[in-house]
Symmetry: C2
Subunit: 83 residues, 2 copies
Amino acid sequence: MKKVKVYITLRESVLDPQGQAVKDSLHNMEYKNVQDVRIGKFIELELDDTADIDTQIKEMCEKLLANTVIENYRYEIEEGVMQ
Amino acid sequence: MKKVKVYITLRESVLDPQGQAVKDSLHNMEYKNVQDVRIGKFIELELDDTADIDTQIKEMCEKLLANTVIENYRYEIEEGVMQ
């Protein structure tokens, strides 16, 4: 069994209104030292190991998990199951 | 300047309908080896360093970024700015 951690983030050039809203809220809560906030997705997958696991994960990311027009993705493969 | 990576995940005991829907979609795409999917948030913060930065980040997570009734959070502090 493999555990895969996928990080999906907006491309630098893409505006992040959600991040902006969170930044404004943090400023209203007096955390004035916050300069920037970017919101992304963190997806944990548990899957049976296969010979082409890297190819598979790239396909899953590019076909379903990430919108590659506006998002970047990266992933890490670990042994074992989710905690 | 410090860069903080915050990972927000649903508590184990909490049902993850979004994760279930993604799992079903992956199975429909013939990725039958996927056993479980959990969807969380990945938040990147850029903030000016302060003496009590750990306390500050915990407060931000517990007051705004995470719903601690159903979510866990963890974070990593790094030097420098977001790529």
